[in-house]
Symmetry: D2
Subunit: 140 residues, 4 copies
């Protein structure tokens, strides 16, 4: 399965009055990691990817995070992201945010591949993940 990682420094503005990252910000960090993982798989940015495959997006249907160690402004962290399941029209990704070699939190997400409904273009419906893209998600 395809993996990716990126490292960055926790920003002051990501943290709350308790001095730790305001947890909704972790989901924004994970979302960007997913975007970059899919870009790595396809070699395209999100706009070009959706255009190439005539898709409408890959919205979240279920996400979860488990928190073990808080992180703070100035911490240098790494997010490791990997596909864990690639289905017909949905896929799972897991993220681990690491600091000093320890897992601070884990994120889990299930997203669905969607296209415009031919019967009503204002609506979207799930669609099969294009096979060449699915193969790259699987790391083949």
């Amino acid at each position: 399965m395809l993996k990716n990682s990126r490292s960055f420094r926790i920003e002051w503005g990501d943290c709350d009055p308790a001095g730790i990252v305001f947890y909704p910000r972790y989901f924004a960090m994970f979302d960007h990691s997913t975007t970059m993982l899919i870009s790595a798989a396809s070699g395209l940015n999100k706009y070009d990817l959706l255009k190439k495959y005539n898709a409408a997006g890959y919205p979240m249907v279920d996400t979860r995070a488990k928190f073990a160690i808080p992180t703070r402004y100035g911490d240098d962290v790494t997010i490791e992201s990997a596909f864990t399941k690639v289905g017909k029209s949905s896929f799972d990704i897991e993220h681990r945010l690491m600091k000093d070699g320890k897992v601070c939190l884990e994120g889990f997400e299930t997203r669905v591949w969607v296209a415009r409904d031919p019967a009503d273009p204002s609506k979207i419906k799930s669609a099969p993940i294009p096979e060449d893209l699915a193969a790259r998600f699987r790391g083949e």
Copy 2:
């Protein structure tokens, strides 16, 4: 079990280029609902609550959201929040974000009550939820 709800309008800045709420923002909305639910239970704001009970906070340990219907800028929505479990030192809350009487997404969270570690005040450790507060969480 204690419940609460609040209604508000989705803001332009909460939405992404697909025109729907950027999902990390839902967690920020849920966090504020939890803060207001606990304020309703205690009659205190977060600072006064922590001071009264000599506590350090109630950080998230596990959270999940399931998404059914997207919401957009200008939508008038309601978040209904309720305690679903009150344990010795942790508690669960569920949120439902409603639009036009339909559930758009559900959020689940487990938080832990923490205090300063007497042996090392720079550290926090889980602590029993004060009984009078737990009773109010249970709606008694």
Copy 3:
């Protein structure tokens, strides 16, 4: 000139490790106040407004804020917003964020009314503010 105001409570997630509002969040608050002021003027939400007038938006070209008193989680504040200038294709709005009757900060913004360029619909260009809308901005 048209005015508006709205009151709300400062959220935990709007604040930084110093315990005060992370100042970029004030601009998000001001942006929502501007959206609501223009909705009050037109009786339409932003999508319907742009559709009615065949416009592409009213992007910011210049904004400024002056900070006098910090605000914190739990503070109940009011933002008073008013048009201060309505030009041919641009307009100015001022915001004052108040707490306990005192001005905590002031925001100033200049925005421009834009439409799709007929010669190249992928581009936008400034356009005259529709006269009936400009009259409402002026409070006539």
Copy 4:
């Protein structure tokens, strides 16, 4: 005067339904650039810096931004930041966000160096910028 620059990619979650960066996010980007510029000057992170100089922070008193060219998800941008004035207890910084060699927007900020009020530690008051730090701000 001391300068710094950093490059990064605009994230999906920084953008609004018009497909361009939601402008309050630019201020968050500038704030992080300022933090990194001051870290570069002092060789310390913000917590250690405030501790070393017994300071309470360097809050914003006045900020402004002028917008010329919008930026979008996927754009690779650079923020160039520089001190433009170092006074007795306040300093000015300017930021330029560049894309493809063009200035997309400029940010201006005036911040004040503050310390705890000896007469009332719950209050802060402006204080002289430590001379060794001011010299580094000036690039000496």
